[in-house]
């Protein structure tokens, strides 16, 4: 048996996760173009259809896009389970998610129920396929902290998507039987905390100690935090549906999420590896904004009028999505993409008959230059800060959006250039073989 192929059985073809990663920054750019086109009113009202288009292009087009790709990659590697027909699965999932997200956002922008209905059908198909494949794999895997987190995150996504589909039925006027405000809140809590934060937490257990050589997360945390968050989400849902104990369940969720952010920051502080690292920057930025968004939402318990201010939901959304989720995702991409490219090239090289180094494999920092990743980080940070300021000083929106456009273009450039380096080196390897 070929030794290189044996190792490759664990990792799916590069195109499986990469197509998702390469599409994400394009949706980031799409979201920026919405900000530019609609201007300041988009930040004023969360029920605005343009705002819904903006949030879904970020949560589906960037966040879920990367997280699906990452799950398809990580399931075989971290959980030791092979996905059946990975190329087919990823091609279909990617095509459905991309077109579904586009028609949903177009439907919101144009307030046109035909596009919303097409979006509804395509996204339903996306998630039915995703749940079938990933659910099948997650039932088969070995029990570990990370697979428990994956299961609960995917289950949360299921709840989030179901609520989303019900809301879409409401919007397309197939049903009018419930209060959309509560359902919308539950939809976004299950999506942002259940799907995104749970998966990030589970993956953090594995990658934070790995990237910076930090101490491990305490065992009590790795064992209980994710299940506790999930149970708190269920309680939060019950309390919101019944109207009882809403403050208590909010505090519960806030405490658990703060615990994750604080422990992550503290073990990162005790890292052995002291060199500057752009992924570390992104993650620290993310954890700080997770804490700030928790602080903001708990403030409403002390000072209730805050929750009724027009800026409150916008600020909370920007802090959580733009300040926590998107930076953590970008930080991950800067490790996963160059490493996967190196790994696939290395495996190809092991297959070359003459193992003397005929073709030099670029190392991770040659695949994506540190300097370019760092520029992109700082441009993102400035765009983000100005976006928050733009809630009050509306003229700043255009400068902030311009910076965010540059930042997502930079991310796209770094990832597409990495892909180009992969293909050109791979070609050289195959020429050397023949």
């Amino acid at each position: 048996m070929n030794v290189a192929n044996l190792a490759l059985q664990q990792t799916p073809p590069l195109s499986v996760p990469l197509r998702f990663f390469l599409t994400a920054p394009l949706f980031g750019l799409f979201a920026c173009s919405l900000l530019m086109y609609y201007g300041p009113p988009i930040l004023l009202n969360r029920w605005n259809f343009a705002t819904l288009a903006l949030t879904h292009s970020l949560t589906l087009g960037v966040m879920t896009m990367v997280m699906m790709g990452a799950l398809l990659q990580l399931l075989p590697v971290l959980a030791g389970v092979t996905i059946p027909k990975p190329k087919w699965v990823s091609t279909f999932l990617h095509a459905l998610l991309t077109t579904g997200t586009l028609s949903l956002t177009l439907g919101f922008m144009l307030n046109y129920s035909l596009y919303l209905t097409i979006g509804l059908v395509l996204l339903s198909l996306t998630f039915i396929l995703f749940f079938a494949i990933i659910g099948y794999c997650l039932i088969k895997v070995v029990h570990s902290h990370i697979t428990i987190a994956m299961r609960l995150a995917v289950f949360s996504l299921f709840i989030c998507v179901s609520l989303g589909l019900i809301l879409l039925l409401f919007l397309t006027q197939y049903t009018t039987v419930f209060d959309p405000a509560i359902f919308t809140n539950l939809h976004l809590i299950w999506g942002l905390i259940g799907w995104a934060a749970l998966l990030i937490t589970g993956i953090a257990y594995q990658v934070v100690p790995m990237f910076q050589i930090t101490p491990q997360y305490p065992q009590l945390i790795t064992r209980w935090l994710v299940p506790a968050l999930f149970i708190s989400l269920l309680l939060f849902t019950l309390s919101n549906l019944t109207g009882y104990f809403t403050s208590i369940t909010t505090i519960l969720l806030s405490l658990e999420l703060s615990l994750f952010a604080l422990i992550t920051l503290s073990i990162q502080k005790r890292r052995l590896r002291k060199l500057p690292d752009v992924t570390l920057n992104f993650w620290r930025f993310g954890m700080i904004h997770l804490l700030l968004s928790i602080l903001l939402s708990t403030l409403t318990l002390i000072w209730q009028p805050l929750a009724t201010k027009a800026f409150y939901p916008t600020l909370l959304g920007i802090l959580f999505i733009g300040g926590f989720i998107l930076p953590v995702i970008q930080g991950m991409l800067y490790k996963i993409v160059p490493f996967l490219i190196w790994l696939h090239l290395q495996n190809q090289q092991l297959n070359v008959l003459n193992p003397i180094q005929l073709v030099k494999i670029p190392n991770m920092k040659q695949v994506i230059l540190d300097k370019q990743a760092r520029y992109q980080f700082w441009i993102y940070v400035s765009g983000f800060i100005l976006l928050i300021a733009a809630i009050w000083i509306t003229d700043l929106l255009y400068i902030s959006t311009t910076l965010l456009i540059i930042s997502f273009s930079g991310l796209a450039y770094n990832l597409y250039k990495a892909t180009w380096i992969y293909h050109s080196t791979s070609r050289q390897l195959h020429e050397a073989k023949s």
Partner: protein
């Protein structure tokens, strides 16, 4: 340190420490110290690999009758890491910090994943596979000295 898992995990931690020191010295361009540190890091890694390849893996394979399973993947990853060791040695001798740091970053990802798989899956498997003979195997492991 009564189990294979504890002993071998401790060796991983020692190697991680040496790795971080060497990387820091290279980034500060303290070349003489850096060269010495890279050498001791690689020696510690080779000593650890040698314990696995010459004692732990063959004994485990003989016990389980499977030589194409996880141990084979671990050996292949050792080969990948050795290739990076050679490149890192070359870069540090040439005082090329950019190349070294890129190679070190790549090695770290590979090494930490490799270690996690061993610590979470393979070592506990060996501990339970050897049963009563565990302490004998452990003594062989500790006595084994890598011959360069």
């Amino acid at each position: 340190m009564n189990t294979i898992t504890q002993t071998m995990t401790y060796e991983h931690n020692v190697c991680d420490n040496l790795f971080a020191q060497a990387e820091l010295l290279v980034s500060q361009a303290k070349w003489e110290q850096a060269i010495a540190n890279v050498e001791s890091f690689i020696q510690a890694m080779e000593q650890h690999f040698s314990r696995e390849e010459n004692v732990l893996f063959p004994t485990f394979e003989a016990r389980t009758g499977n030589s194409m399973g996880p141990t084979q993947i671990m050996r292949m990853e050792h080969t990948q890491m050795r290739q990076l060791f050679a490149e890192m040695q070359q870069s540090v001798v040439q005082h090329n910090s950019d190349d070294y740091l890129g190679q070190a970053e790549t090695l770290l990802m590979l090494m930490r994943q490799h270690n996690a798989k061993e610590e979470q899956i393979l070592y506990p498997m060996t501990d339970s596979a050897f049963g009563a003979e565990r302490s004998t195997v452990l003594q062989h492991l500790k006595d084994h000295i890598h011959q360069a």
